[in-house]
């Protein structure tokens, strides 16, 4: 039986360094090639030695697919392609291809220039790596080679995020990457057609969460910001450069416009500015509202939001500032936080997840005194709010996607083991399909039962059609006679005569004969006559002939009656039928064994 093997190198029961190997129909595909935020040693990249100890990866991989530009999905790409060695194609969508190198370069700068690491990939390597990328569009089917094809579906999450269908012959796998089933202010919801893949590999970040209506969240967020600004406080929103930042910007921008508010909004310069540029460009990847109104006004050309300068932080009066990074662990957001933390009028809103150990995590857990470097302590007086604006599908969204795609098997990655288990139970219970959640390095094998396509000769088909009812019933299987010829890697179903002709064989007749003993007091001819009438009454729609030479012929079945001399009442009925009429023949023999009606 053919099977599909899935091995997560990263993201198996874990969040971070997504990297999943799939072998399907003799092809090996790597899905995503990310890095782990939590580690600074070798563990931050997937263990490529799993694929090969030494030598290049090109021979072992047919293609690499990157779902979106987040570093935990593409961060290890230059390392893999340039330092480990891979020359095959890398597939990603256009926006991902545009934004990915910016993030990689930024990441490289932080690690090499700031932390002083050596043996890291260089700018040139990023460029070389990007040369191997083949961009693709939504719903475009790309033929990697003759057998392997991939297709991208919209995934929401971030600009350019896509879900991928990988198909070899009739076996297929769908990998979701990160996706979002509820549309937000700038992106639409993920969508897939009923492609019924053998395995659906889905992320499960929010496996145990059913999120509240997004409007509630938005309203709360806007209300909190509005109130703080009205009483003259400052609002700090730490964000990562791409994704949520844009959504929140649009949210605030439209709110400011609607409410005629005057307080300034700033976002920290640099990365965000560059990214906004791409958001303006790839307007087709955004949601209905933005797509429809961009002719009048591109929503990403903000009117109220201006670039931030370090000195603005000390300005009096209310303001809203978006600053990177999102977890308050370093950089500008931390600097501003330090300045504003002392005033209870101010507020910090954490719009997403915070890793343990970061300032963000600490303040969210209610710590009121923070230890800073140099033994200084910082009193946290400002209000701390948490609003989950994370664009991952929640449990309900995952269920919804399963319902849309109707997979035969389910495989969960990119989530915490405990939460996954919960979701796994739910899925198995509700959809009664098997669900897997392999750990890193653990291989899941799913046996598939692909249907084998066979060419059928038109003549045969027409002949069979003529036999049956007027319309083929799609929902009901039907048996037919024919000869299967397997030749030169092709399968054909032809009629037996044609097969014989093609193979140059002569036809052999195969006949079965059978004797049935019957007690009957009548003479031979009478018995035959009675058999004839009996059969006539039983088999209404068959042609039954009584031939004068003492035989009854039903279709091609010959029936004769003899009686032995010593026992005239014991008649021996001779039945003879050809192989093709096996069914009817055996029916007749059993029928006659039961005896004739008196």
């Amino acid at each position: 039986m053919p099977d599909i093997k899935v091995t997560p190198l990263g993201a198996g029961q874990d969040v971070g360094r997504s990297c999943i190997l799939v072998s399907i129909g003799g092809k090996n595909i790597m899905l995503d090639c990310g890095m782990h935020m939590g580690y600074n040693d070798d563990r931050r990249f997937p263990d490529f030695s799993y694929i090969t100890q030494n030598g290049r990866l090109t021979e072992f991989l047919d293609c690499v697919i990157i779902s979106h530009f987040h570093l935990d999905h593409c961060g290890a790409l230059p390392y893999m392609s340039e330092m480990v060695g891979y020359d095959g194609p890398i597939y990603m969508t256009h926006p991902t291809k545009a934004i990915c190198p910016i993030l990689l370069e930024d990441f490289r700068k932080i690690t090499v220039d700031k932390k002083g690491e050596t043996n890291f990939f260089t700018s040139q390597m990023i460029k070389d790596c990007m040369k191997k990328v083949v961009p693709l569009n939504l719903h475009q089917t790309i033929q990697v080679d003759e057998e392997l094809e991939i297709k991208a579906y919209y995934a929401g999450h971030v600009l350019g995020a896509a879900m991928f269908q990988i198909k070899v012959g009739l076996e297929s796998v769908v990998y979701t990457g990160d996706y979002n089933m509820t549309p937000d202010r700038h992106l639409g919801a993920a969508w897939i057609d009923k492609c019924r893949p053998d395995i659906l590999i889905s992320e499960s970040t929010y496996a145990t969460t059913i999120r509240d209506s997004k409007r509630c969240r938005e309203r709360d967020f806007l209300k909190k910001v509005h109130e703080t600004v009205e009483r003259g406080g400052k609002v700090l929103i730490p964000v990562f450069a791409l994704g949520r930042a844009q959504e929140l910007c649009i949210l605030l921008e439209t709110f400011w416009e609607r409410m005629n508010l005057k307080a300034p909004i700033y976002f920290s310069t640099g990365l965000t500015e560059k990214a906004n540029h791409y958001y303006k460009l790839f307007i087709t990847w955004t949601n209905q509202k933005i797509r429809k109104t961009f002719v009048q006004r591109n929503m990403f050309e903000f009117k109220h939001i201006k670039a931030f300068d370090r000195s603005y932080a000390d300005n009096p009066g209310p303001m809203v500032v978006f600053a990177t990074p999102g977890m308050l662990h370093a950089g500008q957001s931390l600097q501003i936080f330090k300045k504003w933390a002392g005033n209870e009028k101010n507020m910090v809103i954490m719009p997403g997840y915070c890793v343990q150990g970061t300032v963000g995590h600490k303040i969210l857990n209610g710590q009121k005194k923070l230890e800073m470097e140099g033994r200084a302590t910082l009193d946290v007086k400002l209000q701390v709010e948490y609003m989950s604006f994370s664009a991952h599908a929640d449990a309900k969204g995952i269920m919804q996607l399963i319902r849309m795609a109707e997979p035969r098997n389910m495989l969960l990655v990119h989530g915490e083991a405990k939460k996954m288990e919960f979701l796994k139970d739910k899925i198995e219970q509700e959809f009664s399909i098997s669900c897997y959640m392999p750990a890193n390095g653990e291989t899941t094998t799913v046996v598939t039962n692909p249907s084998v396509p066979v060419d059928i000769s038109l003549n045969l088909l027409k002949r069979e059609m003529a036999l049956g009812g007027p319309l083929p019933d799609a929902k009901r299987p039907r048996t037919m006679h024919g000869t299967l010829i397997m030749k030169d890697n092709s399968l054909r179903l032809v009629s037996p005569e044609q097969a014989l002709k093609e193979l140059g064989l002569s036809e052999h007749q195969l006949r079965f004969t059978c004797r049935v003993q019957l007690h009957d007091p009548h003479s031979d001819t009478d018995t035959l006559g009675r058999i004839y009438t009996h059969l006539k009454s039983v088999l209404k729609s068959y042609s039954i002939q009584h031939v004068p030479d003492g035989t009854v012929i039903v279709e091609s079945i010959v029936i004769k009656v003899t009686s032995s001399a010593e026992e005239p009442n014991l008649k021996v009925i001779l039945l003879s039928w050809s192989y093709q009429d096996e069914e009817l023949g055996s029916f007749l023999s059993t029928l006659l064994k039961k005896g004739l009606p008196s």
């Binding site: 009923k194 997004k214 409007r215 609607r258 409410m259 209905q288 509202k289």
Partner: protein, 977 residues
């Protein structure tokens, strides 16, 4: 046969060509007969050598209409060619033409049905076959009562159902859906017939439902649509197909799913109470609940078309059980049915119970105790939170549909209304204004069921700062109808409204009105905060507030309206409040009600008014109206002495009544105007001029002709300005108008020399009489002894006689005719309009450069105007007599409430230079055209209008003043060089 036919055709052709030359005076209705189409077609088709040409001819032919008499001939010719033709496309076109032709009005397609069915038998091409079936369908729908024909068609359809081509099956199903009957089994007739077939007795429904499983999605869709068609035609759909329909909900194709959703909905409406089992468990639920769950499920479908459909249909499922309904607002899984949570709790409590976290609080999704997963899912969990999904859908079409559905469900279930409140309030924050506006409107509609809590009110009021005027006004409207629970709410609302007032001063009127209702609704809540609101102090005198401050007026409006039903309140007022009351009562009487103030002398007039305004007085007013009408109706002839005085007094009374009793204003005005017409008419007839010699009467003439013109104007007002009229009243009005026209005719005849002119007028008058007869045939019994009746009696004579005789006859008839009494219909409303802005008070001229345009904002409310988008116009009158009429855009009309329309538009003004600032007048007009009021009037047949004949009725168009003019000061300055 064919030869004979051709001959006939040629005959027609030649005969007709003669007629064309015989053109007569087009004064009367004349019908031009065109050369027969069939002949021309035949010639063309014979000429055609190849299929392309033939197709071209047919296409050309199809562009022109064919009159009913020659349809049959054309059809025969087409069929003849059909049999000869070997090209599929030509045959297809012929088949489609057959269908088109059989739709011709006045043509009975019985005669061609045999031929049409015959063609089916020999047809090989699937496409043509499908087209032929389509033609049969059209023929069948033309003959709905011929059972035998229908039966034949159905048999044909059943036969072709087994075709291998999807189009043929589609058409067959469509035919079955449109023509099939459910009550009796299908093959009854065929059994009776000689070649009795052994086909099992099956009805249309089961045949159609077989195709629910067809391999082609298009056929599946057609099957469901056919079933829906059956339902629409009033056949009872069997419940047995419910399960099949439910299966189709998970079809791969969106059009199938979309149709299936409708099917399931139809069944849920037909059999709401029957019980269906839940698969996977042995419990049972009501069908309507089951289908509700299934449709809810479709709100998260992959295709947005299906989502819109599902969301819309949800709104009409009122029979669904409350706990299922409430599920739609809760995303939580069904297994904890018992632990229902209201939206209110949701706002306060965490999701502590453990199953899923909300993501609104940090770290509350850490796994807790293992959930009992064995709980039975009563309905698929997809139904949970269907509306939550719908409301946050990506497509705003879905969101709007969901909001509307919520509204409709909430209106029938108060508890649900309570629950969906939070969600609707959330929608106030949607990214698309249309959705925001819609949700505010919806909230207003359900606001009778709900009382806003403080926190909810807070979120609602936050929207008051919205920069869109529509949103703010909708919100004011909402606040007018809202109930709040505490005095803090009142205070909060007042505070926010005042904030709104300072931020957007243009909202003044709207805010005041809002406070008026708020006060009137919650007198007891306002009472405790009155001292605070008026800033009075038990010991100290506080400074008197500024009377011109809109905010202070707003507070006073709130307080006074509350005081109306709270007699203890005025005791808390300080002296200046009473003074301000008197002032406001005069200046803003629509906002400030009458109060019984203690220790104040009530002036006689106000006391009288107060007693008149009470609720019991409506009845007496109505009686009064009836009495005065009866009094007038006693009059038989208006020329009796004293009759005119009585009429005059009655008119005066009615006018006064209309002013006093707003509910009856429409009726009273209507009667008064009508009586006024009669009075004018009588006066005109009593003029001495009729006895005078023609040359002497010129001076008198002027008086009478103004009277007639006035009557005409008044009749148009009567007809078009009032809504709620019945045919009888309209006929009465037309009668008066005819009288006026007759008078006019007589005047013309007397003043003008030359018969020619009078001749034309006479013709026109006779046409009017004819059209009256046609329009009000049924009403004629009510018109005994009236002018019209007499006229119609004399009609044969009139048409024959000379103009001068006609005039004489008219003159005597006019004098003899009886005065027709008006019967009042139930409710008459007078269309009215008030221009709120510009106010006309500004002394600062609007300056602009000549030749360029300036935009003038116009804000007006219209009441009881029917179809305002097409009828209401804005007129701008310049001092030099120039006038412009501007049609506002349909989008400028908004409907804040039933019967009320708000027009907010901009008119563009321009003029050449003036030396002095001058006032222009702006007013609203109601445009009417007599053709629009006569829907019953037969429209000219399409083939006539094609030929460019003038329409039989000259339609009268004109305008009526709808509002008082407003003066605007403008100053066009010459451009500086």
């Amino acid at each position: 046969m064919a030869a004979h036919l051709k001959k006939r055709v040629y005959e027609e052709f030649s005969k007709v060509s003669q007629q064309v030359t015989l053109e007569e005076v087009p004064a009367k209705k004349l019908r031009l007969t065109k050369p027969s189409k069939s002949a021309a077609l035949h010639i063309d088709l014979c000429k055609a050598t190849n299929p392309t040409d033939a197709l071209q001819y047919l296409l050309n032919f199809a562009r022109k209409p064919v009159e009913a008499e020659s349809v049959e001939g054309v059809v025969r010719i087409l069929l003849e060619h059909y049999y000869k033709e070997s090209d599929n496309s030509v045959r297809l076109k012929i088949a489609s033409l057959l269908g088109l032709l059989s739709k011709t009005r006045g043509f009975a397609p019985d005669c061609i049905i045999d031929d049409a069915i015959n063609t089916l038998n020999n047809e090989k091409s699937h496409q043509v076959l499908a087209q032929l079936l389509d033609t049969l369908l059209i023929i069948g729908t033309q003959l709905p009562d011929k059972i035998a024909v229908i039966q034949r068609l159905i048999d044909v359809a059943c036969k072709h159902l087994s075709s291998t081509y999807f189009g043929v099956r589609n058409k067959c199903l469509q035919l079955l859906g449109c023509l099939g009957t459910v009550d009796k089994p299908l093959s009854k007739e065929t059994d009776v017939g000689p070649g009795a077939q052994t086909s099992p007795v099956r009805d249309v429904q089961s045949i159609i439902s077989d195709y629910f499983q067809d391999q082609d999605p298009r056929v599946r869709t057609a099957a469901i649509k056919a079933m829906l068609q059956l339902h629409e035609r009033g056949m009872k759909i069997q419940q047995t197909i419910y399960n099949q329909a439910c299966k189709l909900l998970s079809d791969d194709y969106e059009q199938v799913r979309s149709a299936a959703v409708q099917m399931v909905w139809v069944l849920s409406q037909l059999y709401p109470e029957s019980i269906v089992p839940i698969p996977s468990s042995n419990e049972e639920i009501r069908l309507v609940d089951d289908s509700f769950g299934k449709i809810c499920h479709m709100v998260s479908d992959g295709s947005w078309v299906v989502r819109v459909q599902a969301a819309k249909l949800l709104g009409s499922m009122h029979q669904v059980s409350p706990h299922f309904l409430e599920q739609t607002l809760d995303k939580k899984l069904m297994s904890d049915l018992r632990r229902k949570r209201t939206a209110h709790e949701r706002a306060k409590e965490l999701y502590a119970s453990g199953e899923f976290s909300s993501g609104r609080r940090w770290a509350d999704d850490a796994p807790k105790e293992k959930v009992d997963t064995s709980g039975v899912n009563l309905i698929d969990s997809g139904a949970c939170g269907a509306f939550v999904h719908g409301l946050e859908d990506e497509m705003y079409e879905v969101r709007i549909a969901a909001v509307e559905a919520l509204c409709s469900l909430a209106q029938s279930s108060p508890s649900f209304a309570e629950k969906c409140l939070d969600f609707l309030v959330d929608m106030f924050n949607d990214e698309i204004e249309e959705v925001r506006l819609q949700s505010i409107h919806v909230l207003r509609q359900i606001s009778t069921h709900i009382t806003l809590r403080e926190d909810q009110l807070d979120t609602v009021l936050a929207v008051l700062e919205d920069s869109s005027r529509d949103i703010r006004e909708a919100l004011h409207e909402l606040l007018c109808y809202t109930n709040v629970s505490t005095k803090d709410c009142i205070q909060l609302a007042l505070l926010e409204l005042l904030k709104n007032l300072t931020k957007y001063p243009t909202d003044r009127n709207s805010v005041w009105k809002c406070l008026k209702f708020l006060g009137a609704r919650h007198p007891t809540l306002v009472l405790p905060i009155v001292p605070e609101l008026l800033s009075t102090h038990p010991y100290f005198d506080t400074p008197e507030p500024d009377m011109d401050d809109p905010a202070y007026i707003a507070v006073l409006v709130l307080v006074f309206n509350a005081a109306k039903s709270c007699p203890t309140m005025p005791a808390l007022f300080s002296d200046h409040t009473f003074r301000h009351y008197a002032y406001l009562r005069d200046s803003l009487s629509h906002l400030v009600p009458h109060l019984r103030l203690p220790g104040r002398k009530q002036t006689a007039s106000s006391g009288l008014e107060a007693s008149g305004v009470g609720s019991g007085s409506l009845e007496s007013a109505q009686n009064f109206l009836q009495d005065s009408l009866i009094r007038v109706s006693v009059l038989q002839n208006l020329e009796t002495p004293g009759a005119q005085e009585l009429l005059e007094f009655t008119i005066r009374d009615l006018q006064r009544l209309g002013e006093l009793q707003t509910e009856l204003a429409g009726s009273a005005d209507f009667c008064a105007t009508y009586l006024h017409c009669q009075l004018l008419l009588t006066k005109a007839l009593q003029e001495k001029l009729w006895t005078m010699a023609v040359p002497l009467c010129l001076k008198q003439n002027a008086k009478v002709s103004t009277a007639t013109r006035q009557i005409l104007d008044e009749t148009y007002k009567l007809e078009f300005l009032y809504s709620g009229l019945e045919t009888q009243q309209i006929a009465t009005i037309h009668n008066v108008r005819l009288q006026a026209k007759a008078l006019q005719l007589i005047l013309t005849a007397r003043s003008k020399r030359g018969v020619d002119r009078v001749l034309g007028v006479c013709e026109k008058f006779l046409q009017d009489v004819e059209s009256f007869q046609r329009l009000f045939m049924t009403e004629l019994p009510h018109f005994q002894d009236s002018f019209v009746e007499k006229l119609l009696e004399l009609m044969p004579r009139l048409t024959a006689c000379k103009p001068l005789d006609l005039v004489k006859i008219l003159q005597t008839t006019l004098r003899q005719s009886r005065f027709i009494h008006l019967k009042l219909p139930e409710q008459i409303h007078r269309a009215s309009a008030t221009i709120i802005e510009p106010t006309g008070e500004s002394d600062n001229p609007l300056k602009f450069t000549t030749g360029l345009v300036v935009a003038l904002d116009i804000d007006a409310t219209l009441e009881h105007v029917q179809d305002p988008q097409t009828t209401v116009k804005v007129q701008v009158l310049y001092p030099d007599g120039q006038s412009h009429i501007i049609h506002p855009k349909p989008g400028d009309f908004r409907t804040p409430g039933p019967g009320r329309v708000r027009l907010i538009t901009q008119v563009y003004l321009s003029h050449s230079a003036w030396t002095e600032a001058c006032q222009i007048e702006v007013r609203l007009l109601l445009a009417y055209s007599s053709s629009s009021s006569k829907q019953s009037a037969s429209k000219p047949a399409w083939n006539e209008s094609m030929d460019g004949l003038p329409t039989s009725e000259s339609c009268i168009e004109g305008t009526i003043h709808l509002s008082k003019p407003v003066k605007v000061f403008i100053m066009p300055k010459p451009a500086r060089r």
